[in-house]
């Protein structure tokens, strides 16, 4: 009933190829965008900003990046933390070198720098695949963190290796630093995620995305039909790292404001959680990146708030329950649907098509 496609005829190729072919999806998405852009900024407070929405947006960005590489191109990577660190430190260095540069340009430049680093660490992927590649990217994670610890130039010789963001403005409103209003940082991240999200979606639907998927599904067959593995794999590494670099840049500049590399980009803090996001959300799915980020980032906070504020458990008991419930849910979802939350959603849509009169 709700998802009935009857009567929706496509008379042009353009409409047939649109991102949301169903009118219901299009309406839902537009409403979501309207709410995100025109309603949320007026009601957002610093808790929703700093604890919920900004981390969600940033991790979604990182998950999109990793999904391009792992979900679409089939190259397993455990180097997300390292690449995010590159984005963050690139932002810091550019910021201190060019004090007058616009923050949007700084963030995009950080992404570009990370893309080059990604290409460099993507080179082994031409010779090794699967678990072996995962181990090779793991090396990049440890090497990059070690580098940012070892070479004081990266953190401008500060005593503790701590890097701190300074205030930057867009249209006269601060978007980084402690004085930035909640709506400004939120909109800044939202715009980047929406624009780059659309870019990713369109890349995936075009030639480059199809060649990624060809490599993922069977690299030898892809090579035989004329997909160059070198170019395809490295482009996946570059574009994936670009997204992850931007996530790292926002993580440092907008979200935390001050960080220390070992603590903030630890493999357990970034690399594994982001990989879990795309596995739980759905490998090779844009929606999955967002659902996965929500599951990993927001669910623990939700569980905690329910248990502490509503049920009145003590903080530590709630924490133990939170870890247990979260882990259980993860197992349950993976057993119910190994293809992730995105697949669950599409099954739900199938059901809604016939609801409430299934035959």
């Amino acid at each position: 009933m709700i998802y009935k496609e009857t009567g929706q005829f496509k008379s042009t190729y353009e409409s047939d190829h649109s991102i949301f072919p169903l009118i219901q999806d299009k309406i839902a998405f537009n409403i979501l965008m309207l709410v995100a852009f025109l309603v949320v900024p007026f009601f957002i407070d610093s808790y929703w900003e700093k604890a919920i929405l900004i981390p969600f947006l940033i991790y979604s960005m990182a998950a999109i990046g990793l999904n391009i590489l792992t979900g679409y191109c089939g190259q397993v990577s455990l180097g997300t933390g390292g690449f995010m660190a590159v984005g963050a430190f690139a932002t810091y260095k550019i910021m201190t070198f060019f004090p007058d540069l616009n923050i949007m340009i700084i963030v995009l430049l950080s992404g570009v720098i990370t893309a080059f680093v990604g290409i460099l660490f993507g080179l082994p992927s031409l010779r090794i695949k699967g678990f072996y590649l995962a181990v090779a990217t793991l090396a990049s994670q440890f090497f990059i963190i070690w580098l940012f610890n070892k070479v004081p130039w990266f953190y401008n010789y500060s005593d503790t290796g701590q890097i701190t963001v300074s205030e930057r403005t867009m249209f006269g409103v601060a978007v980084t630093g402690a004085n930035a209003p909640s709506y400004a940082t939120y909109l800044f991240c939202l715009i980047l995620v929406v624009v780059l999200g659309f870019a990713a979606k369109n890349m995936i639907r075009s030639k480059i995305g199809r060649s990624w998927m060809a490599i993922r599904d069977m690299d030898i067959a892809a090579e035989i039909i004329g997909v160059p593995p070198l170019k395809t794999k490295l482009s996946a590494f570059a574009i994936s790292s670009f997204y992850i670099g931007i996530a790292g840049s926002l993580y440092f500049a907008v979200y935390l404001g001050a960080l220390e590399v070992t603590e903030s980009f630890d493999i357990m803090a970034i690399s594994f959680p982001v990989l879990f996001m795309i596995i739980i959300g759905g490998l090779g799915s844009m929606l999955g990146s967002f659902l996965g980020a929500a599951f990993i980032v927001l669910l623990p906070i939700f569980l905690k708030n329910v248990m502490v504020d509503l049920i009145g458990l003590s903080a530590v008991t709630a924490k133990h329950f939170e870890i247990t419930i979260w882990g259980l849910l993860m197992v349950v979802f993976l057993i119910l649907e190994p293809h992730g939350l995105a697949r669950l959603w599409s099954i739900a849509k199938e059901k809604l098509r016939k609801w409430p009169f299934p035959y």
Binding site: P55, N149, E260, T262, A315, K319
Partner: protein
């Protein structure tokens, strides 16, 4: 039908609970960022218990501070920076003071709390240069800083060597984070001044893997080892040191690496291990008697009550006492019991814990006296060395409280804080 009714009832009770919480927060709110889970729990639990027991005792004995009850919501951080941010945002409204109990979270909160107008009190941890109240209006780190600690440890070593440590090798085993890196700068400057060689040995979070670190120590044989560790890292380091037969009396930890939980697992091997401290161990002070009477004997002890009188529990008492005293001072200055966060800061800046006042509070000879001023948010900088007696299972103070190397430390603090002020465009206060 039934479901719908239940939903309505549920929502109703949610709103009711919300309203109830609103009323409760009219008291003095001291949010607690704690970690009773994870790799740092062995140290986090006794410390948090000290806080809770002290607040409970004040509420029970005095009916709060100037008649205002203390509320102390706990928020579990697991020592993680991101969770710390979430906890801060959740509790910052009307909060008197935050005690992050993590240098990483402190660094996070310094700009945020300064912008929001919330006091941060990092007792003997956090950013050392926050001692300079001219730059860091909202941040306090009394009674001593890490740079004081580093120079006191070196002073202790100097004393043992008749003032000459030229050519000696000192190793620093440190938690590879903002916390552990904090003393490096001072130790480097002191190395130049006194002519010793400094070896830097980072240990990554969570600190369970230290085989390679101690193998290096065994090979290169430094004369002294200093340690900036926390959580399981302390236990593992002390165990490893005893297993390579490193002379324990030459192994000195910072005040966060010197609790019972850190030395107990190594058993007799830990005998002779030294650590700095700015508060005394033991459970026979007046404050302990009060806590026994008003809290423990009523069965309201925080946790299982087993940490009573341990080093970190006592430090929790001390930290809580300073925070409560600051509220009292603020009430006196502003002539009202209902103080705002801004008034509370004034109180913290004018805390004067002299020997007489300490005695009144039940802390006689518990810690060296200290005083905050507009320029100095870092207290006296006094600390002593304590040594572990594995047979008696207790810590003994083996030196008087001593000062750090002010000549070196003050210069570094001025340098670092001015740099920060310039970066963040902060105007100097207290002129």
């Amino acid at each position: 039908m039934g479901l719908k009714k239940m939903m309505v009832g549920f929502l109703g009770s949610v709103i009711a609970i919300g309203g109830f919480l609103e009323v409760a927060t009219a008291d003095l709110k001291f949010p607690m960022l704690v970690y009773r889970t994870g790799a740092y729990a062995p140290n986090g639990i006794p410390n948090a218990d000290g806080f809770v027991d002290y607040y409970k005792m004040i509420n029970a004995r005095d009916g709060g501070i100037g008649g205002e009850k203390i509320v102390f919501p706990e928020c579990e951080t697991g020592y993680k920076t991101q969770v710390g941010v979430e906890c801060y945002e959740k509790h910052k409204e009307n909060a008197m003071v935050f005690q992050p109990m993590s240098t990483g979270i402190t660094y996070q909160l310094i700009p945020k709390a300064s912008a929001d107008g919330v006091t941060v009190y990092s007792t003997g941890y956090g950013r050392t240069s926050a001692k300079n109240g001219k730059v860091f209006k909202w941040i306090f780190n009394a009674p001593a800083t890490y740079w004081d600690g580093a120079s006191i440890a070196v002073r202790h070593i100097l004393k043992q060597n008749m003032g000459n440590i030229k050519g000696k090798k000192i190793a620093l085993v440190y938690h590879n984070s903002a916390y552990g890196k904090e003393p490096i700068r001072t130790l480097q400057v002191l190395a130049k001044k006194h002519g010793y060689k400094l070896m830097l040995l980072p240990v990554d979070h969570p600190g369970q893997e230290q085989k390679a670190t101690w193998l290096k120590i065994r090979k290169q044989r430094p004369n002294y080892v200093l340690m900036w560790g926390w959580g399981v890292m302390n236990q593992v380091a002390i165990k490893q040191a005893s297993s390579i037969k490193f002379p324990m009396e030459n192994f000195i930890g910072i005040w966060w690496s010197g609790s019972e939980n850190d030395v107990m697992p190594a058993g007799a091997g830990a005998h002779g291990y030294k650590a700095l401290t700015f508060n005394a161990p033991g459970d026979d002070y007046q404050v302990h008697k009060d806590i026994k009477k008003y809290v423990h004997d009523k069965g309201q002890a925080s946790g299982d009550g087993s940490h009573f009188g341990t080093v970190l529990y006592n430090r929790g008492l001390f930290q809580a006492m300073v925070q409560v005293e600051a509220a009292r001072v603020a009430q006196k200055i502003h002539g009202t019991s209902k103080i705002t966060p801004a008034m509370y800061r004034d109180g913290m800046e004018n805390v004067d814990l002299n020997a007489k006042r300490m005695e009144e509070l039940g802390f006689k000879n518990f810690a060296p006296p200290f005083k905050n001023t507009c320029e100095n948010h870092g207290g006296s900088g006094l600390a002593a060395v304590q040594q572990w007696d594995a047979k008696a299972k207790k810590w003994n103070m083996i030196t008087e409280y001593m000062y750090g190397d002010a000549e070196v430390v003050d210069k570094l603090i001025a340098e670092d804080s001015t740099k920060y002020a310039k970066e963040q465009k902060i105007a100097m206060r207290c002129n």
